[in-house]
Symmetry: C2
Amino acid sequence: MQANDPKTLLEKSIPIVAKMGIKVVEFGKNHAKLKLPFEGNANHIDIVYAGSLFTLGELAGGAIFHASFDNLRYYPVVKKVEITFKRMALTDVTVEVGLSEEKVAQINQTAEARGKADFDLSLELKDNSGEVCCLVDGVWQIRKLPETGGK
Amino acid sequence: MQANDPKTLLEKSIPIVAKMGIKVVEFGKNHAKLKLPFEGNANHIDIVYAGSLFTLGELAGGAIFHASFDNLRYYPVVKKVEITFKRMALTDVTVEVGLSEEKVAQINQTAEARGKADFDLSLELKDNSGEVCCLVDGVWQIRKLPETGGK
């Protein structure tokens, strides 16, 4: 595995994410699945800590960026995220993220024309029995890298 | 300093928060100020990582709980948090949180009657030149501890 492949970037390049131990367990075109381990992310009453749950959702935005867009032409920015805590998480927690081919084409078209384009994601964070513990709704943006004429 | 004093609880009892190194720099009645160090919380492009910024805001809810309510009768829960990223943070980041005496009385009254009460906070996360880098709006709840007749 190369140092700059998406899985390594996502898991290792942000020190606090590496400390949480979030792993990319599926990664393919326009799709990714990430897992936050319970171990190391529990709070003082032994449930998964809110800040780690948020990070799992936030990192899903980075994962779908790498799975869907050209990281030699664009970089991702997170603009806004809302997280709703539905139930306590007592196990590892996973999130799946995907974008349709049509949506990716639309975002690419806007970014090509304007130098940047927003995309939103609505995500479900699930415990290992499949129960939804958190809903994450956010807006991310892709921006052209300066070398390629970004505005 | 005792192991169960609020400052120690906030800084040390959640392992991932301890790893971020968030410190309680002011703590008094109905008021607290927390600081997230840049060191250890930068991302791969050397700006403060979104997950650490969220955690600073989230922990402010815990801090104001301890600064305003009786932690022998109640415990705090976070229900929903929205974070808006306004500008990159390139330094340590602080947040101040406070509740008015009137608001605390109102929340206590509701919790006494119903076993729980919501409270919302609108917070500004600031870099060390005082610029707002993030807005955090959230809803937390205090709940009666089971031993005191919580529902």
